[in-house]
Amino acid sequence: MVDQATTKSSPDAAASPGRLGRGAGLWRVLRAIGLLRESPVAIVGSGLVLFWVVVAILAPWLSPYGPNAIDFTALADPTPSAVHWLGTDHLGRDMVSRLAWGARTVLTVAPIAVLTAYLIGCTMGMVAGYLGGWVDDLISFISDIILSFPVLILYIILISTLGPSALNIIVAVTFVSAPGIGRIARALVFDLRTREYVDAAKTRGERPLYIMLVEILPNARGPLIVDACLRMGYTTITIGVLGFLGLGLPPPDPDWGGMVKDTTAMMVVWPHMSLFPCIAISSLVIGFNLLADGLREISMRD
């Protein structure tokens, strides 16, 4: 119905199919965002996520000080004050600045990690589900081996061997999550590959790659988007946990988990140093999970 409306309202678009495609795509995105209004849970979730995205983008302008700048005068009393709104940490570094730059770290590493995991996981799952046979057996066998590991142990072994860095966190998250994504994609393809439009494409003589990317993938997007949103939450927790265990980004760069690790020993004297980064990471993950829940609710209603 909506597509009809766009076609009618833009007569010149019909002349150039490229512009029609782009216009319809943009309209779809706007419509999808509009759909979020239907779920209060999704609104709260996207609000929390959006808040941290804005903070991450504006980190250089929002932070009153450099993330690693040390204010020796604050060391006598690092609690929140007019100079340092959220106080400073045990080394006299401004909490607001470190939290903002920490948001930047998480919101750069997590999406890249989830994206690469999706690229590899979806490829694995779609190839396995579409081709079947020994390819499916082999891919499923490799996935089963990786999935049989307790997740956290796999992270500890990989990161402690590779060394802690943003790139290695991305590699480890991809390695650990791709098999799970592959399983979901495989199940979806199994269901979709017997549909009429896939048969029609086969009869037209389309190549398997075309069928997978153009016919199957767009129709499997619903559950995959919800899962990706959940995975953003999990990955945020993972990055925080790795930082907390001393396997995160190397110091002194701010990273929420690492900030907690450095200051929990001082909880009794200065609880604010650990509390603020914990509130930050919890609110971001709650945002992602509420958004995922709202999206699932909306997608089930259709």
């Binding site: 142990i153 402690s160 925080g240 946990v241 509390l275 914990c278």
Partner: protein
């Protein structure tokens, strides 16, 4: 049925062999590293050379893996036990015995002396948490799933999502801020050594609470999803229409069927509780299995990490097998061959 179990046991062994080889390969990829990590940072090049020859580190990876398995099964003597190396390693169990995991370079003792105590400690923590998680998540799941979309459903689901979203270290910090810093009701660390001020039981309260808060929401969601599905079935409608009290419908008809699917998920929580509690153990300084693994990995104690991973894999594979068998008994419609 016996065929199925035999087949699954075969798969289990194969998975463990391949997975443990992968860990071995990752940990011992560079042979030079193995010698220097075993001897520590202050060792001379000469002693590293001797150890390198003794461990035959220039052999191919697969041969060295075979030797490690040989030591584990008590067929080969552990080369590190040789007194000529002056490492001071001594194992009262002897040098040839089944389950010889070798020597920990971090704890300067046989891995078997450390590993099982730590696993037992984690078992206490995990056991108490499991006993609380299962009934709590069932009550939450059934109450929210029996009337989908009701105010109670929304409220409970939202609580569950929020609680599972808070990382363990964050909920630990929040709880510590209230109960340790402000109220001073509970100790902030749990070294499992009773002090006059804090008895053992008080040391377990916070770690168990953190585990329960993080995990139960997830299980509750699984129970809820299954409950919602069961409530749409014909036999529930029949039971309601023939005038049974709602309580009876839920307790007699719905609950039993709704527990089939979450059964596997609940069993997998044992697996998660044994190995996923690293964060909780670290923040409360609890002498458990996960913390041992982390310390060993950070120190470069290869033998301990390999041993701990093997044990963890064993727990993971066994719980999955039990889950599958139990699932078959619960659901007579599924007969795997």
């Amino acid at each position: 049925m016996p065929m199925f179990i035999v087949k699954r046991l075969g798969q289990m062994v194969l998975t463990m062999v391949i997975a443990s080889f992968l860990v071995f390969a990752v940990m011992e990829f560079s042979p030079g590293n193995v010698a220097s990590k075993t001897l520590g940072p202050y060792a001379s090049d000469e002693s590293k050379e001797i150890l390198f020859k003794k461990l035959k580190l220039d052999d191919p990876l697969i041969v060295r893996y075979g030797r490690w398995i040989g030591v584990l099964f008590g067929v080969i003597e552990d080369p590190l036990a040789d007194p000529a190396l002056n490492l001071g390693f001594h194992d009262p169990r002897g040098h040839h015995y089944f389950g010889n995991f070798g020597y920990s370079t971090l704890y300067k003792a046989p891995v078997n002396d450390i590993l099982w105590d730590r696993l037992g400690n984690t078992g206490i923590l995990a056991g108490i948490a499991f006993i609380i998680i299962v009934p709590l998540s069932m009550v939450f799941g059934v109450l929210s799933g029996m009337r989908e979309g009701s105010a109670m459903d929304r409220g409970l689901s939202l609580t569950g999502i929020t609680l599972t979203s808070i990382p363990e270290f964050a909920s630990a910090v929040f709880l510590m801020a209230v109960f340790v810093v402000v109220l001073a009701w509970l100790p902030g660390t749990s070294p499992l050594e009773a002090t006059p001020e804090w008895p053992l039981a008080s040391q377990l309260v916070l770690p168990v609470t953190v585990l329960v808060l993080y995990d139960f929401g997830y299980v509750a969601r699984m129970v809820r999803a299954s409950m919602v599905e069961v409530m749409t079935k014909d036999y529930i409608r029949t039971a309601v229409l023939k005038g049974l009290p709602y309580r009876t419908v839920i307790l007699r008809h719905a609950l039993r069927n709704a527990m089939i699917t979450p059964f596997t998920v609940i069993l997998l929580q044992i697996n998660w509780l044994i190995t996923g509690v690293v964060v909780t153990e670290v923040i409360f300084a609890y002498p458990g299995f996960g913390r041992m693994l982390l310390e060993a990995a950070l120190f470069g104690d290869i033998t301990t990490v390999e041993a701990a991973t093997l044990v963890a894999l064993f727990v993971a594979v066994i719980t999955r097998l039990i889950g599958d068998i139990g699932y078959m008994y619960l659901n007579p419609r599924i007969r795997l061959t």
